[in-house]
C-alpha cells in the first residue's frame, strides 16, 4: 500500500476527532473524540514505521522504523494515565454539578 492512503485515512480520523470535539457538549464524548485523535496518530505512526522499515531496510538497518511502534506504545501508556485522571476530574465535576455539559462551564470567563 502507498503511504498516502494511510496519511489520508489517518488525517480523516484525526479531523473527525476534532470535529467531534467541536460539535459535542458532553465532556466524556469530547474526551472520547480526543482518544480518537490519538488513535489516528497511532495508526499513522505504525504506517510510517512500516514505511521506514522498507526504505531504511534497504540500507541494511535491521530494526529500522521500530521506534515508531514503540512510540505508539508510549502513547497508549500516556493515554491510559490521562484517561484515569480525566475521568476522575469528570466524575468530580459530575459529583458537584450533576452535569458533564461543557456549556455549563462558564463561571470563569472574560
Amino acid at each position: 500500500m502507498k503511504i498516502e492512503y494511510y496519511i489520508v485515512l489517518s488525517l480523516a480520523l484525526f479531523c473527525i476527532g476534532i470535529a467531534g470535539v467541536l460539535t459535542r457538549r458532553n465532556a466524556i464524548i469530547i474526551f472520547m473524540c480526543i482518544e480518537l485523535m490519538l488513535n489516528a496518530v497511532n495508526l499513522l505512526l505504525v504506517a510510517f514505521s512500516k514505511m521506514h522499515h522498507v526504505a531504511e531496510g534497504a540500507k541494511n538497518v535491521a530494526m529500522a522504523g521500530i521506534d515508531g511502534q514503540l512510540f505508539v506504545f508510549f502513547i497508549m501508556v500516556v493515554a491510559a494515565a490521562e484517561v484515569s485522571v480525566g475521568l476522575a476530574i469528570i466524575v468530580m465535576m459530575y459529583r458537584n454539578t450533576h452535569s458533564v455539559d461543557v456549556n455549563f462551564l462558564n463561571r470563569l470567563k472574560h
Binding site: L36, N39, M76, M92
Partner: protein
C-alpha cells in the same frame, strides 16, 4: 484487487464510518460502542501491517480497558440520549466545517509530501513482533520506559487526590 487492498479499504471504511458514528450518536453509550468498533478496525490495520503487538495491545488496552472505563463512568452517571441538550446548530455546523476544512488543508498541504509514493510494508516484516519490540524497549527505550513510571505515579496520586471522597 488483492485481499490486502480489499481488507485495507474495508477496515478504512469501517474505521471512518464508526468514527463518524461516535461523533453523531446521540446516546453516549452508543458512542462508546462505536468507538470500540473504530478501535477494532484500527487494530485490524495494525495486524494488516504485521504490527501484531500493537494490534493486540490496542485491543486489550484501548478497546478492553480504557473503553470499559468510559462505559463504567457513563453508566455511573446514568446518561442516555436525552441527557445531552442540543447544541447550537450553527456552532455544530461551524465545528463540522472547520474540521472538514482542516482535513482539506492538511491533505492539500501534504499532497506533495516528501514521502509520496513510498510503500508501506504489509503482512511482512518483523519489527512489529513482540520479541523485537521488547528488546528495543528494554535497551534503547529503557529510559523513557522508566520515566513513564513517573507519569503513572503522578496519575495515580492525582486520581487519589481527585477521586478520594471525604473533603
Amino acid at each position: 484487487m488483492s485481499a490486502t487492498v480489499f481488507l485495507f479499504y474495508f477496515l478504512s471504511v469501517l474505521a471512518l464510518g464508526s468514527a463518524i458514528m461516535v461523533v453523531v450518536s446521540r446516546n453516549p453509550v452508543h458512542s462508546v460502542l462505536w468507538l470500540i468498533a473504530t478501535f477494532f478496525a484500527i487494530s485490524g490495520h495494525y495486524i494488516l501491517m504485521n504490527a501484531q503487538f500493537i494490534g493486540i495491545v490496542n485491543l486489550i488496552v484501548y478497546a478492553g480497558a480504557i473503553m470499559v472505563l468510559f462505559l463504567f463512568v457513563i453508566m455511573l452517571m446514568n446518561m442516555n440520549a436525552d441527557s445531552e441538550p442540543k447544541k447550537n446548530k450553527w456552532l455544530k455546523l461551524a465545528g463540522v466545517v472547520s474540521g472538514g476544512c482542516l482535513l482539506l488543508v492538511m491533505v492539500a498541504a501534504l499532497k506533495s509530501a516528501e514521502v509520496k509514493g513510498q510503500l508501506v510494508q504489509m503482512k511482512d516484516g518483523d519489527i512489529g513482533l513482540i520479541a523485537n519490540l521488547g528488546k528495543a524497549l528494554f535497551t534503547d527505550f529503557v529510559v523513557p520506559f522508566e520515566i513513564a513510571s513517573v507519569l503513572f505515579l503522578s496519575a495515580m496520586v492525582g486520581t487519589v487526590v481527585i477521586g478520594k471522597k471525604g473533603d
